[in-house]
Symmetry: C2
Subunit: 392 residues, 2 copies
């Protein structure tokens, strides 16, 4: 068991009509001039953006707006947001949307409060010392960015996708109304559920310092998401199922499911980042397409954890050799992905990768992790390539 | 499912030697003049207090000390602490100990930052609007006060024990080194485990708005505490088991295991408070002594929850009628209490209550809850008396 820090200062306001509290919450955390940052047109079409601006108008809170945050949010828009905040004297950020809007807002917050180029932080050149206070109205359960310390930004030049983490960017509040996620397309919902589960699975499959209570919470969370992902496939407007998944999304990535371990494996995410860099694929689907190949490749080096996962999460009977049980767990996970229409290989993901593509991705991935990474099994470039090849 | 707020801003610093970070943490949260508040002599005998003052001396952080916080901490010491803080210009509180020292420090923090008599808040007369920032070095896993919004203070005159809750008093940081709990007497350890479980069970046995993920987390937590309580009975110096219980203690009472429900039942606590008012009993042992009688009395009105508890927490086979399964769960819980030397009735608790005592406690309890309370089953004075009688 390792020492750990656990810090989740975000005030979560969860449930129906909670977006009506947005003005009070902004005031509670000292906001007087707000940048409302959002993504595409969905928050306009749904009327949510107008609802929010009406509430701020009614409360006498000044604001400016900036839309356009795309999946894998771009550095260019971050710069634009920083300039706008400085020009307008913005002292509070409100992200309305999913992980893209939140991550983009976090980067804007760093840029406004720190001198120099904000990309330096994502380029591992220096550390931020502050961030503008940030609130969130969440419309998509997936990335967990509403409580997390991390953000991922893509620099358009060379399509460099990089994450940066610090406690400064943890949102002050997160408004989570499950009703706001009801109009999501089924594919997006399934991608979100996959991403949520993977945030906890990346922490679960490790060779270092596991803690029983952390495992118990992680397993309970994973089982809950699986049950509710299948409910949502049949009944996308099921409020309770939306709520279960939404709350799981925050808990899966706020640190709770990794307390006491070595920090997690994270190689499925790293491999998927390369996939997302080269092809236009949804992050959750990319994770599902890679995971089974990763799992089979590393299983023997992390057998007790894969066995435990099979029994406690996937409900595999603990009969036969550990390896057989572990393999059944992986197969059951892939069967679940198929039931919610997620891919289990690159072909099903819609990607026809050439050998050159696979080699390029493995190489970029190895460079990105400084040679080797992984807790379930330490992976080098040759291992990454083998996993990519197995996932075709 | 109910709307809920979740707010746990406490920075948890968990693991071996984490107390060495105390000066840095006090500085991080702006403390320049500290009141170190503690209980009896154990932190002196163990050397912890000297270690802490040496660290503050080395860091050049000024402090004053105040010991004497007893179980069911007294209002008189709170007043003393308030006067001391005002006289010395204290701007940060450091509680070193368990729930008594922390709760007492919280009350001191209210008293320093709010005008008038601090007892007003505990007497439900008005609301606090601030609290001094507070840090914790935890030496006893039980009350969860290190992350919670609540504190319980006893007014010596008439032995009135009252709780007050507000987010203002949530600690800024909590240093949790499981090694600091290793010298606890076995009875105290078992009492702590009982209290921890009860904080989650009070939230679990409700008739309103349960959420699957909350249940899954609660059940995982309860199972973990049970396993590790038994390990600690045989092996009190087991670091991992101490750590599991310590972290469970915080999560059991920081709000996590109640998200989405109606707030919980809390009648076992209310009944035990009367027991603790009349007799000199340890809180955890008092809870264990009452719980079985409460559970049998309310079981039929909350049957699905008792059945679920039996199967998912106590491992009862789901065979036979719901009532039989539920009853087996209660019996299994009592068997667990016996295994860790906790009482399951007043006699085993060492209390010989007269009929007059029972009637007095039931009456005081009913007055204390304004007539009736309980979510598993709404209890009136006659119900409270029946439970007390059944627990003799």
């Amino acid at each position: 068991m390792f020492n750990f820090n656990y810090f989740t200062p975000t005030k979560v306001v969860f449930g129906k009509e909670t977006e009506l509290q947005v003005a009070d919450l902004i005031r509670e955390f000292g906001g007087t001039k707000v940048l409302i940052h959002y993504g595409g047109g969905s928050v306009i079409r749904s009327g949510l953006l107008k609802k929010v601006t009406d509430i701020l108008d009614g409360a006498g809170i000044a604001y400016v707006t900036l839309g356009g945050a795309v999946p894998n949010p771009h550095l260019g828009l971050v710069y634009e947001g920083i300039d706008l905040c400085k020009k307008e004297g913005v002292d509070f950020l409100l992200a309305v949307g999913g992980g893209s809007a939140i991550d983009s807002a976090k980067a804007i917050g760093y840029g406004v409060t720190n001198e120099g180029d904000v990309w330096d932080f994502y380029d591992y050149k220096r550390e931020a010392t502050a961030c503008l206070p940030l609130g969130v109205i969440l419309t998509l359960a997936a990335t967990g960015s509403e409580m997390s310390d991390s953000s991922v930004i893509t620099k358009e030049e060379g399509l460099v996708k990089r994450g940066y983490s610090s406690d400064y960017c943890r949102p002050k509040f997160a408004i989570m109304n499950p009703e706001l996620t009801m109009t999501l397309p089924d594919y997006q919902t399934a991608c979100g559920c996959t991403d949520i589960m993977m945030h906890t699975m990346e922490r679960y499959f490790t060779n270092g310092g596991n803690m029983e209570i952390t495992d118990a919470l992680a397993e309970g969370l994973l089982r809950t998401v699986m049950v509710n992902a299948e409910i949502l496939k049949k009944d996308p407007k099921n409020y309770d199922a939306r709520a279960e998944v939404m709350w799981a999304g925050s808990l899966a990535h706020n640190g709770l499911t990794g307390c006491g371990n070595d920090g997690g494996d994270w190689m499925t995410h790293k491999l998927e980042h390369e996939l997302g860099g080269l092809y236009d694929v949804a992050h959750g689907a990319g994770l599902a397409a890679i995971w089974g190949s990763w799992a089979r490749y590393v299983m023997k080096d992390c057998l007790p954890r894969f066995k435990r996962f099979a029994v406690n999460v996937m409900g595999v009977a603990p009969e036969g050799t550990d390896e057989k049980i572990a393999l059944k767990g992986i197969e059951a996970m892939e069967a679940f992905y198929r039931r919610i229409d997620m891919p289990t290989n690159l072909r099903e993901l819609g990607v026809n990768a050439t050998d050159e593509d696979l080699a390029l991705m493995a190489h970029k991935c190895a460079v990105g992790v400084d040679g080797a990474m992984g807790s379930a099994k330490l992976l080098y470039e040759k291992d990454m390539l083998a996993i990519f090849k197995a996932s075709v």
